[in-house]
């Protein structure tokens, strides 16, 4: 069924009630919908399908970096700034769940003094519920809801990450990596992962000294990388940051916030002109489809009675498990684009 055919009166009653709330701009309804997504509640799916055509209006900015780099304080300043510019602004702040109890202490609001003082910034704290990569599984869909609700600026703040948790790069239009002079020297920065996804690097805590030196080292490292770039890196070339920017800031003192907003704006302009932003958005959809497919297939593999029947029949006709699995995979592979005729095996 395509989105054009969906009508509110066909939705289940609870879903319709929340949809009406969202259409009236009620934040409580939006919050409930996010809860449904987080909890895997089946009432969320028709709501998302219905709202999908209204997404694509908001800018998504990812903020990532090691623990203690000052991400939340920077986000406090940035969301406040956008809000004062008259931009409708929302924040999804992800913190880790305990691998032992499953519980979480979500403390982002503690740092949001400026964002929460006389503004209408919408803040939702999310526990990552065991998801690796810096975000929660529900973060992407929750951002879609915020987008459809009418927010213009959506900030996604990851858990404190090390070097390789880079989900944020596909979840956001622009990725900001926050570092501090204490994050390590240029060699740390040359390692893979985090350093490859930043559109904007913020060397924070400039009030503590050493920031200019780290900024200079970063500059060198990024220049080296740009120089070594192959003219054609294949179809994923557009997913690599084009022209990373480096800024020095002191979020605590409110220094560098306006420059950060400016760098984000410039990156967006360039990304729209070059086609990078549309490519990122397509990549985002692709990754979400991959994840949902993987989840769905796993469930089908472990739960489906039909599979057991298929195996029984295969064995009865002398087809081995390997041959049967190969044939199944080929059948699934042939159906990856349901709108196109099947490709011959």
């Amino acid at each position: 069924m395509t989105a054009g055919q969906l009508r509110p009166e066909t939705l289940p009653e609870d879903t319709r009630r929340i949809l009406e709330g969202i259409e009236e701009g009620r934040r409580g309804a939006l919050a409930r919908a996010i809860t449904w997504i987080e909890n895997g509640d089946p009432r969320a799916a028709p709501l998302l399908d219905f709202l999908q055509p209204r997404t694509g209006q908001a800018w998504r900015t990812g903020i990532t970096g090691p623990p203690g780099a000052g991400k939340s304080t920077l986000v406090d300043g940035l969301t406040r700034y956008w809000s004062e510019q008259g931009r409708k602004t929302a924040l999804l702040a992800v913190d880790p769940s305990s691998p032992f109890s499953g519980g979480a202490l979500l403390g982002d609001r503690v740092r949001l003094d400026r964002a929460l003082e006389q503004t209408d910034v919408f803040v939702r704290s999310m526990a990552n519920r065991g998801s690796l990569g810096g975000l929660a599984l529900a973060t992407g869909a929750a951002a879609d809801l915020l987008d459809a609700f009418g927010f213009e600026e959506i900030v996604l703040e990851t858990v404190g990450v090390g070097q390789a948790e880079v989900d944020i790069a596909a979840a956001a239009d622009v990725t900001v990596v926050v570092l501090t002079p204490a994050s390590g020297d240029g060699v740390q920065a040359m390692k893979a992962g985090l350093m490859e996804v930043g559109d904007v690097f913020v060397v924070n805590k400039a009030d503590e000294g050493g920031a200019e030196r780290l900024a200079a080292e970063l500059e060198q490292m990024l220049a080296l990388r740009q120089a070594q770039r192959e003219p054609d890196e294949g179809p994923d070339r557009q997913l690599v940051p084009e022209n990373p920017r480096i800024l020095v800031a002191s979020a605590r003192e409110g220094r560098g916030i306006e420059a950060l907003a400016g760098a984000i704006e410039e990156t967006r302009r360039e990304g729209m002109a070059s086609g990078r932003v549309p490519a990122l958005r397509e990549q985002r959809a692709l990754m979400r489809v991959r994840r949902l497919l993987a989840e769905g297939l796993r469930a089908a593999i472990w739960e489906n009675r039909r599979l057991r029947r298929g195996v029984r029949k295969a064995l009865a006709r002398g087809e081995g498990p390997d041959a049967f699995a190969r044939r199944l995979l080929q059948a699934i592979f042939n159906r990856l684009d349901p709108d196109e005729p099947e490709e011959p095996a």
């Binding site: 109890s101 609001r109 929460l116 704290s125 519920r129």
Partner: protein
């Protein structure tokens, strides 16, 4: 599916007192029982606390107050919750609150006001018992 979903709790510090050790001890105890605890930080107004509770879609609000202004701030939080249609939220409080004030607050809609020295296990058990009977509408 919802049986496995973590209970979401907001721990708030309304008003001007600057002591949040108690709030943090309770927050950590709830986290260790598998709850998702949103801590607001110090010096929040009743409006900010209710805004946060709405956006975070919590099932429980726990307010810690040691400043003596509980009879101004706590009834205001309850009032705002009712105004916003959030009266399904389990509302509890703790801190330095005289018994007779605690009784008044409990008559006004606080499910329980815990005194100083309450074992965290008692608070955990109270929340677990009462949240189940108050599903989100």
């Amino acid at each position: 599916m919802n049986a496995a979903a973590p209970i979401r709790v907001l721990i708030g510090k309304p008003g001007l007192d600057g002591h949040d050790r108690g709030a943090k001890v309770v927050a950590a105890a709830l986290r260790d029982r598998g709850m998702e605890v949103i801590y607001t930080g110090l010096h929040r107004t009743p409006e900010q606390i209710v805004d946060a509770a709405e956006q975070e879609d919590v099932q429980v609000i726990g307010l810690s107050i040691l400043s003596g202004s509980h009879m101004e701030l706590l009834p205001r939080v309850r009032e705002l919750l009712v105004e916003r249609g959030l009266d399904h939220v389990l509302l509890i409080a703790g801190g330095i609150i005289p018994l007779e004030d605690a009784r008044v607050l409990e008559e006004q809609g606080y499910a329980r006001v815990f005194g100083p020295g309450t074992p965290t296990a008692e608070i955990v058990a109270f929340i677990e018992d009462h949240v189940r009977s108050r599903p989100r509408p």
